[in-house]
Structure formats: C-alpha cells, structure tokens
Symmetry: C2
Subunit: 394 residues, 2 copies
C-alpha cells in the first residue's frame, strides 16, 4: 500500500499534476437579495463549491472557466487529499504543461447549483425549515447554472475570460454562457454537446428519473437520514452509462466475455451476473450511489432535457448573433448520444453569424465519453486552439 | 360502440382478416418422458399455446411457421374475440390475400416455452409443488424454444415446412431452427436479427432485468398472488422500447412536444411528465405489465442474451454448412439494435456455403420495429420471396 501511494505521487510529478488542491466555497444571495431563478422561484442563501488551479495574473486576463457535465463537480484536477485514489475528472487536460496549462492560465471549475458536491442543491438544508429542500428545491435550468459562476468571476474581479470550455452538459452551459454573456470570453471550446436534447436523449434520461421516483425509498424526495433510493439511482446511472459508451467500445472492452469465465449451466438462473458488461454496469451504478444524490440527478438531468438554446429566439442563428468569442466545436465520431449533426448545427449557426469557428469531428471509438479519455491527439487540438487564441488576442 | 364494432368487422372483411381465431394448446412431456432442456434440466408436463390460420393441404406441404419476438405470443393474426380491440401482432402480414396468404398457406404460430401467454413458463404451476415455478423454472435457451415447436409440427404430421419466418428473437429461433433441422423448411425469412447479442444489446437487456429483480415486489420471483414487480417490469419495457425505435422515428413522432402543451413553469418539479415522449414510454410500460409476466421477461431476455448461433461450431460458416433452405435476409436501415452489419454476417456465411440467399437492407425510418409496420413495399418483398419459393419448388 505504502509503495502504491509513493508511485501515485511520483506519477503526479511526472505527468504535471496540480497536486493537492482544496475545494473553496463562494456564498451569495442573502435573504434581502435572493437569487431569482428563471422560473421565478427564489433561493437564499446560495453556496457554490469551486476549485482553482494556477494563478490569476495581474490584469486578470488569463482565466479559463471549465463547466462540468451531469455527474461532474468542482474537482476537475489534482487530488483533494493524499489518500485520494483518482484525480479530478479532467486531470488529463488541466495541470502544468497540459492543454489547460496551469503555469500560464488560472483555471476555475465550480459545482453547479442543484448539485450535491458542495453547491446548494436539493440535499442542502433549507434555512426556512431546517430540513433538506428535497423536491421543494426550485426547478433549475442551464441558464440558472451559469449565473452563480458569473457571480464567482465578478467576485474574482475577472472582466473577461481567456477561454471557457465544457463537454456534454458543460457544453450546454457554455452555449448558454455565450448567449447570456456574448462578450465575456475570448474563446469557447464547445465539446460533445447539443443545442437541445432529442426525443431519444430525453427518453433515456426520463426512464432513469422514473426509476428513481418509483423506488420506494425515494419517498417523494424525503429520504435524507433514512434509506436512499439507491436502486433507482443505480438504474438511472446504468442507463446513462450505456449511452456514454459506443457500441464499438463496449464490444472491444467486454464483447461477450463471461464473469470469471463462468459457463452458462447454472441450475438456478442468474439474470444479471453472467456477462462482464453486466458486472461493469452494476459497478458503475454502485459506485455512483456513493457519490451522488438522487434528487440532484432528477433536477440536473431535467435541466438538460429542458434546455433549448433557441428559447426566446427565432432560431439558432438568431440566438448566436451577439457572440464575440472565437469558437472551437468538437464532436466525436462514435458519440451516438450527441452525434456530429448536432455539433454541425452549432457550427453552421456560428458561421452564418461570421463568428470565427473551427470544427472537428474527432475520430475516437469511445462514444460520448471520448472527451474524458487520455488521447494525445485530443490534447494537441486543445492546446492548439488555446495557442491560436493567444495569437488572436495579441 | 355498436357502430364501432360493426366498423371493425367491416374492416376485417375489407382487409382480409382471418377473423375470430381460437388459441389451441399442445401438451407433451409426460412424467415418464420429461422434456430435457439444453442445460440438462427436466420439465414435465409442457404445454405450448398455438394458433393456426388457413388449412393444411393433403400432402402437408403448405405450412409456414412464424416465430415470435420477446414480447410476442401465439396470437399472430385475427381476433380472439369480437371484443378484442387490436388484432394479432403480425396481422398486417397474415390473412387471406396478405403475404402469408391463408387462402394458400397453413400458418402456425406458437407461444414459446418460458412465456406467459398459455405456454409453460415461470408463472405456470409446478405439479410437484402445486405452486408457480417462479425462478425454480429451468433456464431456457433459444435452442429449447424451438424443440416444442418441432414437436407441434410432428403432431400435425408435417414433414417439411414450406417456409419459416421470424423477426428479432423470432429470427434467432429461425437461425437455430435452420441449424438444428437443416432440411426441415423450403424457405427461411430471417428478419431484423443477429447471430448473437453485442455487449450493448446485452447491457440494455441486463439493466431491464436488474430493474425487475431490485423491485421489492419481485421477492426472488415469488410474487404470484401478491403485488407484482410492476415498476421494475415497466422500466425494463421502457428501456427496451427506446431501443426498438429509431432516433428519427422518435423525433418525427414526439420531437420536444410537451404534454397538453404545458409550459415549463411548474413550481414543484415534475420529473417524468413534461414531454410527450415520456408519456408515451410510461404508457408502453403500463400496458405491458397488464399482459406480461416479469419472470418470463427475465427468462426470455436472458435466453436472447445467451444466444450464440456459433456455439458448438467453429464459426458462423461452419454453423450454417448443412442448411438446405432458400434464405431471405432483411435488415432495416434505421435499426440500431440489430444493425445491418449483423444481417450481413449471416448473409456472408450463408453465401459461402452456397445457400441461395437474397438480402435487403430495407429503407425504413421506424427502427428495429420496422418489420411490424404496415408498409406495402415490405409486403411486396415478403410476397415476392414466397412466390419465388413456390417457383423454386416446382
């Protein structure tokens, strides 16, 4: 064990880790100045968990804001403690010498409102009742998610981002950021996302939510302090996970491999533990319930389904007309959840508006989750865009 | 109501319905001659529900055997009573003047073993205990499903089928039929199927099974006479249903339409009843639990996942080497559950063996379920193959 820990820290040094980082908390919305959400609900106080990596320069021009996806959090890079086994969720991209180079940039990532990793969400205590909000927590939208992050930047005194980046739901937040604050970032990296969910994507999310709310432990969202709707949340995660992988990557990874080489000849049927892919999915479900709140899953996945960047506009081109950022749009060839057609809609609307845009349909077999995979070609593209952005500004 | 009923029967006459049909039952495997399943388990007695349409000719050469899919049953055509609202599951294809023309052919469809629509399955009474089998029912395979159907043909005195046809799991049964009884049918219509499930297809089925077994009402399969695991079975069906439709057909049918035009502004979150696609899926789940047994779903979906037509052979070509039938293979352009590559593997292995094979990747937007859609082009292809089969025999 001792050796393993040593290895990990050697590894950190080798690969340019930001090392040990501490999550910080930003509070706003006092009772006399409540946070008004897009559906008119009010919330106070609001706490946002965030992490930063690197140093903000004197003219505050080197900040990069990273938006996380459905199951992500503020912990995007490094380790929160020496005991932590895995680094932050985008550690492959953030660190000294990495594309989001912390020797040059000040990288910020915050947990969204509605989340369960330090930001105010359904599992937080409602000060008016002294009990967790549960489903009395207001409905949130992608638009509501970005406002606390803007307030966080204001708190830092950042007037304009060098870049903003996000994949999946992070990409939706970024699109919303560009529409809500069209002149607040020099560059935008819009990755594996969509202007709005298709019926199929809504369907997958909705069955997951259905599994949570029919779990008897869900109890209309009042399960804090008692048994949690773990089975329902597991099912939601398992469904989600299938959509994040490609058929090809599942085939490569599992194919029809049997758990422990067991042969199909049991006398009593074992309905969910024969194939390795079944084991994998159950493991994904079981590890997710340890780190995620079922009500947060309901709220956040619903915000994703409800998102439509054209809301309030005539169409996508109209929505994008004020954007001033240089844009980098990326889809992945094997992503069937947000296929390239959806990125191409974004690209087309940006280009019609004369916005400088580069687009890559990146060849990768890993499905939607490809942006989380350690791939040198991907890193070079990310670094290349950031370099071009530097040149663009100079 | 009176009028509506009249309309229906007018309609039956117009469209060439087989009219009112009665389900029959075939029994075999007495206690001294038990049915031995492929894993060595024994079962006695065994009942198989079946329906026939048309008349068996004197030399018993005009029989067509139809294999049903996961949620299908023996009731493939016509109406079981004057009150029945919908005809059998392949009524579009079976009837006088239809492709499986009951004026010419004797069409047989039987419910599989393990099912819950009249054939012996987990919900049947185990004569040794006087209680339903539940999960003491033996594990079944696709190979086990076809044996009772062969016995049924023996009972009719049929020595060779004119044709056999099946889509999805029906296609798997047909592949198994061709391998187990290579000279028992003149023609084979192998539709929207696969030689074996991919990891992704296993994953979808497995999450459905997981949802059933974690439903507290499942109670290790002992729920007969008490509350059933309806929620789990609903979830399984909802997941399945998404995979049976294409993204395009869901988009055309539902897009982002809101139930009753409701606007997203509720104070309390409604997590599963905003979009029409959510309503549709829940309706599919709720109607399925009224007609299907959760344990049957476990057994049958597991048999599908376990199926590998190459088991016991070197490869697909080796498995198909004795087949004597003329083959018609069909995939659908929008079927992502069993995409064309899987049908093409079948076609390739048939052709290498010199087996006369026609293959169509049929242009249809409805996904995997396209073979159940009323489409004149599809009917013409079916009728055309059957006609060519007649000419082939003469």
């Amino acid at each position: 064990m001792e050796n393993k820990k040593d290895d990990k820290f050697n590894n950190i040094n080798d690969s340019g880790s930001v090392g040990i980082v501490k999550t910080s908390y930003f509070d706003f919305a006092n009772p006399s100045d409540e946070f008004v959400l897009s559906n008119g609900s009010k919330l106070s106080p609001v706490t946002i968990a965030y992490e930063t990596y690197g140093t903000l320069n004197s003219d505050k021009s080197n900040a990069i804001l990273i938006f996380h996806a459905l199951s992500g959090d503020a912990h995007a890079a490094g380790y929160n403690s020496a005991d932590e086994k895995k680094p932050g969720w985008w550690d492959i991209m953030i660190g000294p010498g990495k594309p989001f180079d912390t020797d040059k940039y000040f990288v910020i990532c915050s947990n969204i409102i509605g989340g369960c990793k330090g930001s105010t969400g359904p599992s937080s205590i409602n000060p008016k009742t002294g009990k967790p909000y549960g489903i009395t927590f207001p409905i949130i939208s992608i638009k509501d998610m970005i406002i606390p992050q803007k307030k966080l930047l204001d708190y830092f005194g950042i007037k304009k981002l060098f870049c903003a980046a996000g994949g999946s739901m992070g990409g939706m937040q970024l699109l919303q950021w560009l529409v809500s604050y069209p002149d607040f970032t020099e560059g935008a990296m819009i990755i594996a996302t969509s202007p709005t969910h298709t019926a199929q994507a809504i369907a997958f999310n909705s069955v997951g939510r259905y599994a949570i709310i029919v779990d008897p432990n869900w109890n209309n969202g009042n399960y804090y302090g008692s048994e949690k709707p773990d089975k329902g949340l597991s099912i939601a995660r398992m469904i989600g996970h299938i959509t994040y992988l490609s058929e090809e990557s599942m085939h490569r990874k599992f194919g029809r491999k049997i758990i422990n080489g067991k042969i199909f000849q049991a006398d009593i049927a074992d309905f969910t533990k024969e194939f390795e892919v079944e084991n994998y999915l159950q493991y994904q479900g079981e590890s997710f319930i340890k780190r995620f709140d079922a009500n947060s899953y309901l709220y956040i996945s619903k915000a994703i389904d409800d998102f439509d960047i054209t809301d309030g506009f005539e169409n996508l081109t109209d929505a994008f007309k004020k954007i001033k950022a240089k844009c980098f749009v990326m889809s992945f060839t094997s992503d069937w959840l947000y296929p390239k057609e959806q990125s191409m809609k974004i690209v087309k609307a940006l280009k019609i508006n004369g916005i400088e845009t580069t687009y890559t349909n990146f060849e990768a077999p890993y499905g939607h989750d490809s942006f989380l995979i350690d791939d040198d070609r991907l890193k070079r593209l990310f670094a290349g865009f950031l370099k071009s952005l530097e040149e663009h500004i100079q």
